[in-house]
């Protein structure tokens, strides 16, 4: 007993002393450990480990490590969720935009097609009107007077020019084969000019016409008979 009387207090003193001598952790250390545990937690989430696998659950001595690991895992999860959500939102937005663009493009295409159709229709109408109006007129031998029968044709051409203010015409003067090449060029010019003058009296701006003479150089028909000559003595109207 006697020895115990000394030993026990000595043991107590040693124990307490040893306890008292273990230095407490500093705040810096705790922070570093918490950060390390946090990083581990992040890595654990990235590696696909469950939240329950926190290795520090049993380390009751260092609760900050457990907490740090949980924080890391939770943060990683939150980040991932946020990123997923954002990607989803972006994808949706992109899809929406593409859909909207397509709609707009379809609409524009439809409008363009409609416009083209309208233009084609207009062009067809113009062409049809031109075909209907631009009839060849004829002249007597060595004459450039507008014939009575051709006045209605010229009126038709004037009406056409008024209906289509952008239209421009070339008036061609032609002759039959009788007579010299050069005199017939001058005569063709006179015939084109006669048609021009008549159209001017019908109220069409003469600046919308050009005249050209082909004399007897471009006959429609080459037989030496009146039926052929009368076809060749003509004024033609060509769109420019």
């Amino acid at each position: 007993m006697r020895y115990g009387t000394y030993l026990v207090p000595a043991a107590i003193v040693l124990t307490l002393g040893s306890l008292a001598c273990k230095p407490p952790k500093t705040a810096e250390q705790i922070k570093a450990e918490t950060q390390a545990a946090f990083n581990e937690g992040v890595q654990a989430f990235k590696d696909g480990k469950a939240r329950g696998t926190n290795p520090y659950l049993t380390d009751k001595e260092n609760p900050h490590k457990m907490q740090g690991w949980y924080d890391g895992w939770d943060k990683a999860k939150a980040d991932k969720d946020a990123a997923d959500a954002k990607a989803a939102a972006d994808a949706k937005a992109a899809a929406d935009k593409a859909a909207a663009d397509k709609l707009a493009a379809d609409k524009a295409a439809a409008e363009e097609a409609a416009r083209k159709a309208a233009e084609a229709e207009k062009a067809a109408a113009f062409k049809k009107a031109a075909e209907a109006a631009l009839k060849t007129i004829h002249f007597d031998y060595d004459k450039s007077d507008i014939k009575e029968a051709d006045r209605a044709l010229l009126q038709g051409i004037a009406d056409f020019m008024k209906a289509f203010p952008a239209a421009k015409l070339e008036i061609e003067g032609h002759c039959d084969e009788r007579g010299t090449n050069e005199y017939n060029l001058a005569l063709g010019n006179k015939r084109a000019a006669a048609a021009l003058a008549y159209l001017k009296t019908l109220g069409v701006d003469e600046a919308r016409f050009t005249t050209i003479s082909y004399g007897k150089e471009k006959p429609l028909c080459t037989e030496a008979k009146e039926a052929c000559w009368s076809q060749n003595r003509r004024g033609e109207f060509k769109l420019k």
């Binding site: 060029l185 001058a186 010019n189 006179k190 084109a192 003058a197 050209i212 150089e217």
Partner: protein
């Protein structure tokens, strides 16, 4: 006795000529005033007789026939001095000897001499040197021209050429050149459009009208053998343009410009300055100008008094007077190279015939007659013949005629020809 013998002989000659060239000579007539030229077989080295016969003797014979001045007499008689009497008996007034030598490099030398069989002395001698690219037929042309020159004082036109317009496809006409005997066709323009009214200056420069840009433009050569360039209008459109004609000095072009009121006027363009001057008064049609040889007057066609008639004026537009009297339609005047005559066409019963107005006499003579039409007369440089177009064998082809209208020859068988011009070849 001798004379009647020659005459009989010439009738036979004419008949055989007609027979041999039936497709070529439409109508021929010989006059006893022709000089009879005896010709011996040419002596040649380096050439065979068949080539000489086809490309020299036959060509020379045709050239001389068409002059209407010399008739060739071919007999199998020797050509030496001893045989001169025999040639004279046979009817030859001159005796022609030709000697040809073809050198190893292809160059050809030809010596030609002619002897008067009555006086028995030389009347002509000349040596010709031709580089190998010159065809043999050209030597025949040169010799024919020089023989005519010796006889008349003015060189012949056998070596001359015709420039003309020909349709190459519908709506496309181009300018061509052919030798006076119908050989050697050359295309001078390739615009692929209507190309009309050629005119050739004394030095060979060409001018014409082309529709290549849509509207007519006057194109031509500023210098001999130079490129073809646009003369008028320099910018924009010039209205109706036709009938460019070089002045005799080659410095100006007369041409025709039509306005939008239907008038067409004779203009002149000074090539050096580009200055354009209007000579007629904007009253109806004025066209087809042709210069007199001095270049101070022009003849032209105008409808100012109704139908087309030929008028004359100074080159400033003054002193206007009407030339043609009879006929409803007189056009296409061509002033002769010596200035004393104006050829033109006149319409009668729906077809055209050639006429020549003699300015000294104040009278017109009809050259062609018949049911076919004859158009676009142009003078030969020696003023002895006219080239023209006619449809007597169908489509418009080139013919020449003497001034009597009795010797009409088809120049070539090209169809669709118009506006011939006759120019010297050398």
């Amino acid at each position: 006795m001798t004379r009647s013998f020659i005459r009989t002989f010439l009738c036979v000659l004419a008949a055989t000529g007609l027979w041999a060239q039936q497709t070529e000579v439409v109508l021929t007539a010989t006059s006893s005033a022709k000089l009879v030229l005896g010709m011996t077989q040419p002596k040649a080295s380096g050439l065979d007789d068949a080539t000489i016969a086809a490309e020299f003797t036959a060509v020379l014979k045709r050239d001389l026939d068409e002059t209407g001045l010399i008739a060739m007499l071919q007999e199998r008689l020797p050509g030496d001095a001893a045989a001169v009497k025999a040639w004279k008996e046979a009817g030859a007034q001159w005796l022609l000897n030709v000697r040809m030598t073809r050198a190893a490099n292809g160059d050809l030398q030809m010596e030609a001499s002619a002897l008067d069989t009555a006086a028995e002395k030389g009347v002509f001698t000349r040596t010709y040197n031709a580089n190998k690219i010159v065809p043999l037929r050209y030597l025949a042309h040169y010799l024919a021209d020089d023989l005519v020159g010796r006889l008349t004082g003015e060189k012949g036109v056998a070596s001359s050429r015709i420039v003309f317009v020909r349709q190459t496809s519908p709506g496309v006409k181009e300018i061509f050149q052919v030798d006076r005997d119908g050989a050697g066709l050359v295309q001078l323009t390739r615009h692929g459009s209507l190309t009309l009214s050629p005119t050739v200056a004394g030095d060979g420069r060409l001018a014409y009208v082309t529709y290549k840009g849509g509207a007519p433009e006057i194109w031509g050569q500023r210098r001999k053998d130079g490129p073809h360039e646009r003369f008028y209008p320099t910018a924009g459109a010039g209205g109706m343009l036709s009938s460019p004609v070089w002045s005799p000095d080659g410095k100006r072009l007369a041409f025709v410009q039509g306005d939008r009121r239907g008038n067409s006027d004779i203009m002149t363009l000074d090539l050096a300055t580009g200055r354009v001057r209007r000579l007629t008064d904007g009253n109806g049609i004025n066209t087809e100008p042709t210069w007199n040889p001095n270049g101070n007057q022009l003849a032209f066609t105008s409808d100012r008094e109704g139908g087309p008639q030929v008028y004359l004026m100074q080159d400033d537009g003054s002193n206007l007077r009407r030339l043609t009297g009879e006929g409803q339609y007189n056009a296409s005047p061509a002033w002769s190279p010596n200035g004393a005559m104006v050829a033109y066409v006149s319409r009668f019963e729906g077809k055209f015939d050639l006429f020549v107005y003699k300015l000294g006499e104040g009278k017109a003579y009809q050259i062609t007659t018949g049911v076919s039409t004859s158009e676009s007369p142009a003078w030969s440089p020696d003023e002895r013949r006219l080239v023209f177009t006619s449809n007597r064998f169908g489509s418009s082809q080139l013919f020449t005629t003497d001034l009597s209208g009795r010797q009409i020859v088809r120049l070539a068988e090209f169809a669709g020809c118009q506006s011939p011009r006759w120019i010297r070849g050398r």
